[in-house]
């Protein structure tokens, strides 16, 4: 499987979740694990470009596919990805636990709707839970991310 542009062998244990494989085997701990049943959205990654829950996939299912995690959006030292930059500017995060999942969902949302309406923003982030910001600043960040991406 290709993770953030690098090829890796699939794990030997077919029962390994993709989220656990990313974190424990590949050391990509930016993908967070909250609920492990698809509700919280913290573990969202891009699978062949579309956001999916990595806790609801087995790692072996990613063989032959491309996975992008939060670490793959911008190289260390490089400018932030527009969605990361927008979350930074608009205070779209506090504790940061949910942030990688939000960012990956929003990358997917903007791929689908480059200029999302407020309703599309709400729908797009409705699958991610945040317990600190109250969502208002996250919504602002999504609109700002669309601006930055379209520049």
């Amino acid at each position: 499987m290709r993770v953030n542009g690098t090829d890796h062998p699939a794990p030997a244990d077919p029962r390994r979740l993709l989220s656990d494989h990313l974190r424990h085997d590949l050391g990509l701990t930016g993908t967070h694990v909250g609920c492990e049943h698809g509700v919280c959205g913290c573990c969202t990654v891009l699978f062949d470009g579309a956001p999916v829950r990595s806790c609801l996939m087995l790692a072996v299912q990613a063989e032959g596919h491309e996975v992008t995690t939060i670490e793959g959006l911008a190289a260390p030292g490089a400018p932030l990805h527009p969605v990361q930059q927008a979350f930074h500017e608009c205070h779209g995060l506090q504790c940061g636990f949910c942030t990688p999942g939000f960012v990956m969902s929003v990358v997917g949302l903007l791929g689908q709707h480059p200029n999302p309406t407020p309703e599309q923003v709400d729908e797009g982030i409705s699958g991610n839970l945040c317990r600190c910001t109250g969502y208002a600043s996250i919504r602002r960040a999504v609109h700002r991310a669309a601006e930055l991406s379209n520049k």
Binding site: E36, H37, G41, A50, R53, C55, Q61, G108, S126, G127
Partner: protein, 231 residues
């Protein structure tokens, strides 16, 4: 493989099955992942309706122009299934085979009087929606059979879907699907059930839980039915 393995489950989108595995609520001895089967992900016009194959993702159905023109009711229903990120992976056929009593798609198949096509090494058969859902998460599928595709008749005339859930994307406390004069309810019985729009709660004995009492579910059925048939 399904025919030769003892205690095997089919893994398609995994958005219902993997949570059960994570919680150790399901412990099948074998998983048969069908995701690498090519040409099982089509959505095509068939017999005046739409056929949705086993690996067609809910997001693909949601975005399909064909489904939007032939069976717009299905598009409305799919949008109520969880969230887009879940629908990117989840399949329509998987929702039907999983047969959660609170899920939308089984009720849509029932309201439309659709059917599913299943296959095993013994042969193929077609199962009408009315015979497919047997009990809570139980269907007429035998352990060696794979649900190949679901057929949704065109939604002609008046159609609508309404549900009440605590938050958008959550499982419904109660819901209803209207197609013409037909009404199918979900979340209020072990399977989706057909009901009389003039007396939708007759014979219903919904269960109660932390989210809703049986009385509240009956109340919701009446209110939702009124809304569905108001137009």
């Amino acid at each position: 493989m399904l025919g030769s393995l003892e205690d095997a489950k089919v893994l398609a989108g995994g958005q219902s099955l993997v949570p059960l595995l994570n919680f150790r609520l399901a412990r099948p001895a074998h998983l048969v992942d069908i995701n690498r089967i090519s040409s099982l992900d089509r959505i095509y016009e068939h017999d005046g309706g739409v056929a949705v194959q086993a690996l067609a993702r809910q997001a693909d159905v949601e975005d399909s122009e064909l489904v939007a023109s032939v069976c717009p009711l299905l598009v409305l229903a799919v949008r109520l299934v969880a969230h887009r990120v879940i629908r990117n992976r989840g399949t329509v056929c998987g929702s039907l085979a999983h047969a959660d009593p609170a899920s939308e798609l089984p009720a849509v198949l029932l309201a439309l009087n659709g059917h599913v096509a299943v296959r095993s090494t013994r042969g193929a058969r077609m199962i009408p929606a009315a015979d497919f859902f047997k009990s809570v998460m139980e269907t007429a599928l035998t352990p060696d059979e794979l649900l190949i595709e679901a057929w949704f008749p065109a939604s002609t005339g008046k159609y609508a879907i309404a549900e009440e859930s605590r938050r958008h994307g959550d499982f419904a406390l109660a819901g209803g699907v209207r197609h013409g004069d037909r009404l199918a309810l979900f979340g209020v019985a072990p399977t989706p059930v057909l009901a009389d729009p003039k007396d939708p709660t007759r014979g219903l004995e919904p269960s109660g839980d932390l989210e809703a009492t049986p009385e509240f579910r009956l109340h919701l059925v009446q209110v939702l039915c009124d809304r569905l048939f108001a137009a």
